[in-house]
Symmetry: C2
Subunit: 415 residues, 2 copies
């Protein structure tokens, strides 16, 4: 039986799941694909620490160099969660003629271009399915066909932590801090949740997807982002009354400005009766809109040990069956993103006023009102699509004050 020699750098939650997965899936690999994965070397910070997986002591080492230098290692799985060190190890693995599989979105979002080119020029595979929505074989689906249909938009929920929090805040009227503690207890939020809450995590994933599916040479710094910290339970509830739910959205969309793209991560209202609006808690989901073959929708669990390990294993399988991997993506010449003033979305606002009068006044100003709800002295309403400048000043003029709360609205909206 042919063997695929696997080396790991890092054996935390994901790494340990990968080691377990290799043992568990071995028999299916042998039967269906005629090849078995074998763990040959694992570098960890502390070789004496107890691990959540069985490994012979002889396989463990404290030195990543040992993994890179081991001639019996065909493919290196990088699962450390670090950034610049991880990049360095991956580069050296490729230089040593080894395929690489990684789960590190932070590295990919920053250095995807160089890493893929380095792999390509050496005829090696570089697998990164695990960096975005581990529980959904999204990158593979994009690469294997959808890219050819002319993708005009990729929009979805790519961060399970904030989705869990917003869902619980709406369901139980929890304030932000309580929802965060709950997410931490449930194992969906890190002890330091800032990357999730700020949108940084989703921005990294969106950068990877944008490079891969849209051929945009971007990094996470090209993605506009707003976190969910200012979202109030009251607006989550009012959104539902208007037929919407607030979701932590990540959107890459062809801009109305010719040749440019909107790349953005922010909370947004989406229609309850839409594929994304129907998701809840830690679920991830992505809608891919194509020019020529309509929409595709994928959903599944967000990150976490098992689904992420699953994505790593599917990359390992690809290395085993098709070493050298898919052709590199030819990038567009420049990033060409628009700034936030040019984003075209619907708008949710909460303002003082009378719903009926506001609606009439706005319609006279050519602002379409999709839904409005009066609550005490305040009105919550959703407008049709436009740039902020085309809608918000008219709203302020109509209500006599600047909106007290403003959120973007995504998806198919019509009155």
């Amino acid at each position: 039986m042919r063997e695929l020699g696997v080396g790991l750098i890092g054996c935390g939650v994901v790494g340990a799941e990968v080691v377990r997965g290799i043992a568990e899936d071995r028999e299916v690999w042998a039967r269906r694909y005629g090849v078995v994965p074998v763990v040959r070397r694992v570098a960890v910070r502390d070789t004496s620490k107890r691990r959540e997986c069985k490994l012979p002591l002889s396989v463990l080492t404290a030195h990543p160099e040992d993994v890179l230098a081991d001639p019996s290692v065909d493919v290196v799985v990088e699962a450390t969660g670090r950034v610049e060190e991880a990049r360095n190890w991956m580069e050296r693995a490729l230089d040593a003629g080894k395929h690489v599989v990684t789960a590190s979105k932070a590295v990919l979002a920053r250095h995807m271009g160089e890493l893929l080119e380095r792999a390509r020029s050496r005829g090696l595979s570089f697998g990164y399915e695990a960096t975005v929505a581990g529980g959904i074989p999204l990158l593979r689906a994009l690469r294997e066909g959808l890219v050819a249909y002319g993708i005009t938009e990729v929009a979805g929920i790519l961060n399970g932590t904030t989705h869990y929090m917003l869902t619980r805040m709406e369901q139980e009227r929890l304030p932000f801090e309580t929802a965060l503690s709950e997410a931490q207890r449930a194992g969906f939020a890190e002890p330091d949740p800032s990357e999730d809450v700020s949108g940084e995590d989703a921005a990294c994933k969106l950068a990877v997807v944008s490079r891969m599916a849209l051929a945009l040479p971007v990094t996470q710094r090209d993605v506009y982002k707003e976190g969910i910290r200012d979202v109030k339970p009251r607006d989550l509830r009012l959104a539902v009354k208007l037929g919407f739910r607030v979701k932590p959205m990540a959107v890459a969309r062809r801009s109305a400005v010719e040749g440019k793209w909107e790349l953005r991560v922010h909370p947004a209202l989406v229609p309850i009766e839409s594929p994304l609006g129907r998701l809840a808690l830690e679920e991830n989901g992505i809608r891919v809109t194509t020019e020529r073959r309509g929409d595709y929708f994928f959903s599944g669990r967000g990150a976490g040990g098992a689904p992420t390990a699953g994505a790593v294993l599917s990359d390992l399988l690809e290395v085993a069956l098709r070493p050298g991997g898919p052709p590199a993506v030819e990038m567009a010449d420049s990033a060409s993103t628009v700034s936030s003033e040019q984003f075209v979305t619907g708008h949710y606002v909460r303002v003082a006023g009378d719903a009926a009068r506001l609606r009439k006044d706005l319609e006279e100003r050519d602002i379409q009102v999709i839904a409005a709800h009066q609550e005490g002295q305040e009105v919550a309403l959703v407008t049709g699509r436009g740039t902020p400048a085309s809608v918000l000043p008219a709203l302020a003029a109509a209500s006599g004050e600047a909106p007290r709360v403003w959120l973007r609205v995504e998806g198919d909206i019509s009155a």
Copy 2:
């Protein structure tokens, strides 16, 4: 630029979309993959008929043999909708050293084993992504990873026509015949809808999925099937009151009987608040349950020209990039399906009686009642999971009559 010579047999709805798609996607293929698809020969029944796509007259022929004999054709797309003739053409294409891509589920469900083996032994690709849920890259996702996680169940809505009909019957309280005419007008049902309505179409798709994902050597004849003709609008409505929706389900599940499988197509209640329960109209969706990495869920449009052509194009791309294709699936020794008496599901019944008394009576007989609803002299209720024999006789005894209506219940059900 490298070219992939494409020949088509059949140029109806799907074939014409494929021809259009090849022209439309050509530029993306060239840029991203360094290869362009070129239509070299197209066999049609009537070469003088007007087509929905542009083709030079010189390419058209009335003889499939011309496609098979053309040395400039690398891959034959079979899109005739016929069965035994189509099988013959595909075999001869493989014998002539050409890769094959097909959208014909009826052929695959019957002859998949022989066709795949013939392709494998000649080192040729055989693409059939388009045979199941064209708008969802399902087979690829299964093959590229999920199969390795130990699949215990594939359950979903694989027929868009009956899903459309059941949705409209529930929404508008339409009788079966009205919903059928509407589906035909909307282009979702064939003039002869019997394959959809009887469950035959879904059974073919389930057979293909079962062979591919579960390595079961089955054909569509091994799939138990019930059509949707007897489903009443009244029960669709009562199901909603109980928290369920009736969906045209196709299920392949590891049986409680060791080493055996349930393969079945029938209408069933699923919880409204579940990924499948949330789908509507012509949408398709599939939940894949794995032993080791949890659930995966996919949804998208059902069959139809554009999504089916998309699936064919993704197969063509695979032929272009990786001729010879994925390794053949090693089959289990025998089909090992259980008969319908051994299916384990929840049960929906409508009987005469009093809800409270019936619930108490059933619970004394150790039948779990998930939900019950009284309407006039009748009770609609959903029980926990069991074989028909473990539940229905107790129900009859408790209510004093055989159930007036009985349907299976799928998905996570608990009180």
